[in-house]
Each structure stands twice: as structure tokens, then as C-alpha cells.
């Protein structure tokens, strides 16, 4: 069983992000981490691997600093890691990213001569939270996709996954290869053991450049190739203290609230 886990390095989501004077997110002092949903995906993949057999490859698009995130993946279950490192890919939108991931997945398959049975992604990234890449990647790879997965089994080319819904879950079966986007399962990702972390530091991380990607359509990538343009970023408005309405009766309170909303031209 060959598993690909696509990861994204994002700013630590437990830290509040503010904008710089130029209107860009100020990430200078925020530690980059592996997107939380991607860590769930990797953990799910690692458990699947441990229950059966196979190898996990972690794939990331990013700058030199993203090697650290890949190293962390190598410490918690990934056997191989690749970094797509190309300045001209900066500013790609979800479609562009999916396209690059598809090209990189094919390149790794060509190099190793092994086809990926399962491709794991987090259901979304904690920074932009668009949730597009998994589904787009499956479209480009021409495989099926199961989104919001909380549990998965794999046997003889058949994938059986629990997809979380508002009410509970659906059981979905499909044939591999298949893309799975993972949401929070009922377990947490493992911590790296001291020895695995030390060993991971010594493992090589492959670098993939644009010229290595035989099926790349460069016009789909980078800022120029993006369909989605970011015009301006806003910080969420600061929460202001509310107004307390406490009239004699509930009816009076409701009437006052409606009157205030009418004054504020809410309707």
C-alpha cells in the first residue's frame, strides 16, 4: 500500500494574527506548523500503515523553511518526504496548488515506479480554510474522493471510509486510487518519540523543481495563473461590549430590542 499525504505549512493557529501596515498578515513572530488537519491525515495514514503494510510519502509545496515541517512528518510516520520548492509557484490559488500537487504526485510515481493507492489531505488548511485542494486534486488525478473522513479501512484495492456529517456519518466505499480529505478523528496525532525525531533529522528530503514536473502547465500556477485574486485582507472587527436590555417584562424587553434595531436601521 502506497500512501501520499499532502501537507501545508501554516502559521500556528493558536496565535492571533494581525495585519502589517501594508495590509499583509504579520507572520514574523508566529511559528510555522503543519496544518492541524494534515496532521490528522498523517496520523490516520500512519495507523493504516501500521495495521497493514506500505509506505507513506509526505509532500509539501513551500520555501526552505517548510523542510522543518516535513522533518516533523518523518518523525511521526512518513517514510519519505518531498518539498516542491519553486519561487514562481508563490501566489498560486487552490487550483494552481492542486495542479502542482498532481504533477508532483505523478513525478514521484514515475521516479519510484510505484502508484499511490491513497492520497490523504487535510479537509482544509487552518490559515485560509478554503477546503478546495482535496477535491480538485482528485479531479485532476482522475480518482474518486471522500471528504471529511474520520475513519478509513483499506483492503484489496477497496477503500471504506466514514464521512462525518452534521448528523453522524456516512459509510462510503470506493476503489483505489482515491483521495481522502480528513477531519478531526476521535484520536490525537502522536508526539514524535525522541529517537524518531533524531532519526528524522538525518533522513533526506527530496526537492522537486518546476522543470522536474513533466505534465506541468505553468500558466495555471503562480499569481498570474490564479483565478482567485485577493484584493484586500481585513482583521475581524473587535468585539464590543453588548447592550443589556432588561425591562420589567419579557414582552417589554422584546419591544425595546425591536425598537433599537429599527433605530439602527437593521431592517
Amino acid at each position: 500500500m502506497e500512501i501520499l499525504v499532502c501537507i501545508k505549512q501554516v502559521p500556528d493557529d493558536s496565535v492571533e494574527v494581525h495585519l502589517t501596515e501594508e495590509g499583509k498578515p504579520d507572520l514574523a513572530n508566529i511559528t510555522p506548523v503543519v496544518n492541524a488537519f494534515d496532521t490528522y491525515a498523517l496520523e490516520m495514514a500512519a495507523r493504516l500503515k501500521e495495521a497493514g503494510e506500505g509506505e507513506i510519502t509526505a509532500l509539501c509545496i513551500g520555501g526552505e523553511e517548510a523542510r522543518n515541517s516535513l522533518k516533523n512528518c518523518l518523525a511521526v510516520g512518513a517514510d519519505h518526504a518531498y518539498l516542491v520548492q519553486e519561487d514562481r509557484f508563490d501566489g498560486s490559488d487552490s487550483r494552481g496548488i492542486s495542479h502542482i500537487l498532481m504533477c508532483a504526485a505523478k513525478k514521484i510515481e514515475e521516479d519510484t515506479g510505484k502508484k499511490f493507492d491513497l492520497i490523504f489531505c487535510g479537509k482544509e488548511a487552518t490559515d485560509a480554510a478554503l477546503g478546495q485542494v482535496g477535491a480538485e486534486l482528485s479531479e485532476m488525478l482522475g480518482t474518486g474522493v471522500i471528504t471529511n473522513v474520520i475513519e478509513v479501512e483499506f483492503a484489496e484495492g477497496q477503500v471504506c471510509a466514514k464521512q462525518e456529517t452534521e448528523e453522524g456519518y456516512r459509510l462510503i466505499e470506493t476503489a483505489s486510487p482515491c483521495v481522502l480529505t480528513v477531519t478531526k478523528p476521535d484520536y490525537d496525532p502522536r508526539y514524535p518519540t525522541i529517537k524518531n525525531k533524531m532519526a528524522a533529522r538525518k533522513k533526506p528530503i527530496g526537492t522537486i523543481k518546476a522543470q522536474d514536473l513533466s505534465v506541468l502547465e505553468p500558466e495555471k500556477t503562480g499569481e498570474g495563473g490564479a483565478f482567485v485574486k485577493t484584493l484586500k485582507l481585513y482583521e475581524p472587527p473587535k468585539k464590543e461590549a453588548g447592550i443589556k436590555i432588561q425591562e420589567e417584562t419579557a414582552q417589554d424587553s422584546a419591544l425595546k430590542a425591536v425598537a433599537m434595531m429599527a433605530d439602527a436601521k437593521v431592517f
Partner: protein
């Protein structure tokens, strides 16, 4: 400022910090109240291999320098000193074997630790505290076995250890030269654990009596030679003391962290209290003491790594770090005012945790004797 550590250890430090933040710091509050040994936390720590940092590389350990390990232990101590004590005391329990044991014994204890066990060092007895040579536990040779009898007390990890390094008299007529060191596995008939101490601090660590009643062990479990036990125990403590300094420095660092966080948050006279220079100086004094203690620990450990004499340095590190941990914890409470005295807030625990570091592994009065002897000469 902190320990100067390798890039590799710095990487590990991030993981340990994350682990302690998520799995130890808050969770230990409840166990500090109950006094229960938090097995689930230790199980997670074992899974991450935090308990085997001191195991030498040739016996399956990670092969980090002592200062690298100190940075990780301090991080554990910042989260909870009892947690760090359990782990460090396991190292203490292993040291007699690493110092004087044979290959088989070394492999035996290291394997047990790697597999998730803990060690315990049994020297103190009800009548033999600072006067460690006054122990009355005996070991009588009977064919190819020794029979141990006696009672050890205040044994850290006593109730949870998988193996014990125990001092016992093999020849009463020779005084301290009649003391020998033995390796005894948990579960050996005749070895039992008694009274568990209801302690003032480090309540997430286990401390209890270890009782030996006609406890028969193979003669091969003698560590080193007969009569060398006291020397082995002293060498063990010479090393272990620096680690206690490390944990104490961690308590002090937690005090600084908490005092700064609270000082920024607490508004009096219309401004955060930390804007008062009087309190800034308090923080500065806490930092001076803590950093000095930490660097003394590092110095003692570096000397150990280099194979240089380190008795004096380790004693200074332990003595100074524990004295200042008390002072810094007390000042942290002062920064918090009345809230600091409440168990709702995290600083009163630091004072309770810090106190034992002035007492165990040689009281600070004994440390001063060691330092004086090593300074004045004979």
C-alpha cells in the same frame, strides 16, 4: 537565556515543550491535589521516550549530551517538578549500575527503562539520613545468594520502580567500608513497599518505604564489590545532584514565567503592576538567580561529560538552585499578592515543590560540607 544546546536538542525541546504544555502542566494540578501518581501522564511520556533520555547510547538511549538532556528536563520541571523528579529519580536509580555495574547489569537496567520501567535508589533509612553510613539494612551471603533485611524510607519511585539499587551492610564491623550495593528487581519475594508519604510538594512523584524481609537475590546482583557500596552511593549522588539543580532551576523559571504573565495582566492604580520598577527589579533579581543556577548546572554537567571531577560543582549547582528556587517561588507569590496564596493560582505550588530540593539527595547543609571540603582541602 537558557542552556546552550545542539540544534538537534533544540528541535526536541520544541516537541517536549508542546508535550508538557498539552499533557502535563494543567493535568498535574488535579494530581497535586489528590496526591495520586498520574500513570496516564507517565505512560504518554514513556511513549515519547522522555523517561530514557539519560540511558547511554550503547544501551539504547538517544545519545544526547548532558546539557542537551538538562534543557529537556528543565522543560518538564517548568510544567511540573514532580513529573521531572520521577524521571530524574529513575536516572538516579540507574546510576549505581552505570557507575560500578557489570555489562550484564547495565544492559538489564537499561533494557527495563527503555521498555517503560523506572529505577529507584535506596540509601536513606529511618535512622540514616544525612548520616548515610548509619544504615542498618543487612545483606548476608548464603551460598550463591544474598539475603537482605531492613527498611529504606523516602524512596522516590519506591512504589512504581521496576528495579532498585539498594545499599546494605555486608560487614558491620567495617562501618561505611562494610556497605555494599545491590540490584534488586521489583517483584522479588521479600521486597515490598510500605508507607507512601503524603508530601508537601512534588505530589505527582511517588515516595515510599521499601521493606526487605528475607529478600533473597542472586549473588550476581552485587554491584561492584563487597564494601564498595558507600563509595558507589556517593559517586551516584555526585552526579545526580546536578540534575536536582536542573529541576530546581525549572521551578524557578516557572515562577518567573508566572510572575511576568500575571504582572502584565493585573491592573492596579490604572496600569499593569509590572510597570512598577519595584516589581521589575523583583523580576530582574529572580532572573539573575535562576540564570546563575542554570549555568552552574550546565557547568557541572559539562564537567561530567568531559570526565572531569565534578563533586564540588554538582553540590554548588544543587545547593544554589534549590535555595534560589525557594526564593524565586516566594517572590512569585509576592507578585501575585493575595491571589498567590490561593491554590486557585499556580505559584503556591512552586514553593511547596521547591522545598524538598533543599533536603533530598543530601540536604543543603551536607552540600555545604561537600563544597567546603572540596574548597578548603584536607
Amino acid at each position: 537565556m537558557a542552556y546552550l544546546i545542539s540544534e538537534e536538542a533544540n528541535d526536541l525541546l520544541q516537541d517536549v515543550r508542546e508535550f508538557c504544555e498539552n499533557e502535563v502542566k494543567e493535568q498535574c494540578k488535579e494530581f497535586d491535589r489528590s496526591g495520586e501518581w498520574p500513570k496516564e501522564i507517565y505512560d504518554k511520556a514513556i511513549e515519547m521516550q522522555l523517561h530514557s533520555l539519560e540511558v547511554p547510547e550503547e544501551y539504547g538511549g538517544p545519545g544526547l549530551s548532558r546539557v542537551d538532556v538538562a534543557a529537556l528536563i528543565e522543560e518538564m520541571a517548568i510544567a511540573d517538578a514532580g513529573f521531572a523528579t520521577t524521571i530524574s529519580a529513575s536516572g538516579l536509580g540507574t546510576k549505581p549500575v552505570l557507575i560500578a555495574g557489570n555489562e550484564e547489569q547495565k544492559k538489564h537496567v537499561c533494557d527495563q527503562i527503555i521498555e517503560g520501567g523506572f529505577g529507584a535508589f535506596c540509601l536513606t533509612e529511618p535512622g540514616a539520613g544525612s548520616d548515610a553510613g548509619a544504615g542498618t539494612t543487612t545483606a548476608v551471603k548464603d551460598g550463591d545468594e544474598y539475603i537482605l533485611n531492613g527498611r529504606k524510607c523516602f524512596i522516590t519511585n519506591g512504589g512504581i520502580a521496576s528495579f532498585y539499587c539498594i545499599t546494605a551492610m555486608t560487614d558491620k564491623s567495617k562501618g561505611v567500608k562494610g556497605i555494599s550495593m545491590f540490584l534488586v528487581d521489583a517483584g522479588t519475594p521479600g521486597l515490598s513497599t510500605g508507607n507512601e508519604e503524603d508530601k508537601m510538594g512534588i505530589r505527582t512523584s511517588n515516595t515510599c518505604d521499601v521493606v526487605l524481609e528475607d529478600c533473597r537475590i542472586p549473588a550476581a546482583n552485587l554491584i561492584g564489590q563487597e564494601g564498595k557500596g558507600f563509595g558507589i552511593a556517593m559517586k551516584t549522588l555526585d552526579q545526580a545532584r546536578a540534575w536536582m539543580g536542573c529541576v530546581a532551576a525549572g521551578i524557578a523559571q516557572r515562577g518567573i514565567n508566572e510572575a511576568i504573565a500575571y504582572g502584565k495582566e493585573r491592573i492596579q492604580f490604572g496600569k499593569p503592576i509590572i510597570r512598577n520598577q519595584a516589581l521589575q527589579f523583583k523580576i530582574a533579581d529572580m532572573a539573575i538567580k535562576t540564570e546563575t543556577a542554570r549555568q552552574m548546572v550546565a557547568h557541572a554537567l559539562t564537567k561530567m561529560d568531559l570526565g572531569l571531577p565534578h563533586s564540588k560543582e554538582a553540590a554548588i549547582a544543587k545547593c544554589y538552585a534549590s535555595d534560589i528556587a525557594m526564593e524565586v517561588a516566594s517572590e512569585a507569590i509576592q507578585m501575585f499578592g493575595g491571589y498567590g496564596y490561593s491554590r486557585e493560582y499556580p505559584v503556591e505550588k512552586l514553593l511547596r515543590d521547591a522545598k524538598i530540593f533543599q533536603i533530598f539527595e543530601g540536604s543543603n547543609e551536607i552540600q555545604r560540607i561537600v563544597i567546603a571540603n572540596n574548597t578548603i582541602g584536607r
